[in-house]
């Protein structure tokens, strides 16, 4: 291409491609915006959405599978063996053989990978659809699920264990 033709073509290309671009953007300006106006409208969350964790502690058998599966060790569980007469039953019929005085999930460490929910035999540890994670203090991210009953029973047991030792 000669220099003059190149010169003219440069100008022509610049003008015409700019106009083509403006046509594309101009057309888009009259389409419907895709924004979801967040506080007023909520996104439709799919069934498998992974939000923060929740444990239905009544169904928990204290098997520690979730704590083992967690890659970041944010699930802290303490268990203590129940006596035979205290055995409970979960909603799906599994025997509960442990008191669970501590079932804490530190959501500030959790990366919401969902791996802990997969090995759970009674499906009591689940992901919720809660996605607004902002809280006022770090303390609020530390979720405690243990029942007061279990805590008291185990505390009593511990005290009983210690008292005879102290008396001797």
């Amino acid at each position: 291409m000669s220099a003059v033709a190149q010169y003219v073509s440069n100008i022509w290309r610049a003008v015409i491609t700019t106009l083509i671009g403006m046509r594309v953007t101009g057309r888009n300006a009259f389409t419907r915006p895709v924004t979801l106006e967040y506080p007023d409208e909520r996104a439709h969350l799919p069934e498998r959405y992974r939000g923060i964790l929740h444990n239905r502690i009544e169904d928990c058998i204290g098997c520690l599978a979730c704590a083992r599966a967690c890659p970041v060790n944010c699930i802290h569980i303490e268990i203590s063996k129940r006596d035979k007469e205290d055995y409970g039953v979960t909603s799906d019929g599994t025997k509960i053989t442990q008191w669970i005085p501590k079932f804490d999930i530190d959501m500030s460490l959790c990366m919401i990978c969902g791996l802990c929910t997969e090995p759970c035999p009674t499906e009591c540890l689940t992901v919720t659809k809660e996605y607004e994670l902002a809280v006022e203090g770090k303390r609020e991210m530390y979720l405690e699920f243990a029942l007061e009953r279990d805590k008291q029973i185990v505390a009593k047991k511990m005290a009983e264990k210690e008292t005879p030792a102290a008396a001797e």
Binding site: V24, N28, V34, R50, A69, C70, I112, C113, G114, L115
Partner: protein, 381 residues
Amino acid sequence: MPIDTNQKSTDLRTEEMIINMGPQHPSTHGVLRLEVTTDGEVVMDVRPFIGYLHRCFEKHSEKVGYTGVIPYTDRMDYLAAMNNNHGYVMTVEKLLGLEIPERAEYIRVIIAELGRISSHLVAFGTYANDLGAVTPLVWGFRDREYILDIFEMCCGARLTCNYYRIGGLSGDLTPEMLTKIREFLDYFEPKLKDYDRLLSYNKIFIERTAGVGVIPLEMAVNYGITGPPLRASGMKWDLRKDEPYSIYDRFEFNIPTGKGLKGEVGDCWDRYMVRMWEMAESVKIIRQCLAQIPEGEYISPKTPKMIKPPKGEVYVRVENPRGELGYYLVSDGKPNLYRLKVRSPCFTNLAIVPAISRGVMLADLVAIVGSLDIVLGEIDR
């Protein structure tokens, strides 16, 4: 246009200026620091500094068990989490000698190709933003959103997906999701034409990218460049075709290479355009998958509950959107892996920046770094 850097002016005492581009700079794609020696607008030397995003990925993975590594791979190349997962689970499966059900393989390919499109959309948008056009950025993110919605449906998260499992996947694709994917493809194909009209063939864009940051083929091979930058330099090398993994050998697709249509082979425009063409190829692959996908299991029933591969070592590489992602895994037969080394495509691609950006303008440096499409999460790991 390279400028002769050896030219010296004798009658005026001048000094070169050393300027820090990053770690907080709008166009370093994360926390890359480039120490740039400049003479006016001309770049004399560049030294990339990395490591601001180092999170001990390789050491962490020795502590968390084989399944626990998967969410960590999400966080390496956070724009193509699904593709990272794919490579890792294939590594462990190779070590275990595990067969994957047909349906799972199809789903894996569909999701990986969607991941490729979403990653290239971000590359397209951020590259346009580096060159001063903001609208393509927002459009890229707008259309990526539909893919993220699909990811959210199938695994529950948008970015850190954690969808692939050793032996299969964490959940099946329901018919509803397959329709959603089809709808997306129908929506997306005309958009590709819009992008071309808006940006790819724009005269200013061509002026800014054509002939800038040329990587000759020999140099690309010597530096170990992979992925779109290598293909832009003219080599037809794509692991999906040349060393087919998963079920990629069943599909018909082309491997776009740079042809130097607007400037020279291997310039920024070629690198950009290869990505645009690859998106169209990914759409083709997904369409074939959707047509062929069989019924069946989504996770192999033979998957052991406790994953404890035999002693041994294995190397698996996959074609990530950014290049060749390799996992080298050593197992000593214990529940935790012994050593995992990742061959990061962005790391090697970044290494070429000093070599090709001596003597370019400051604005070209931005264009070169952008065209390599690096993700610092993967470089630093």
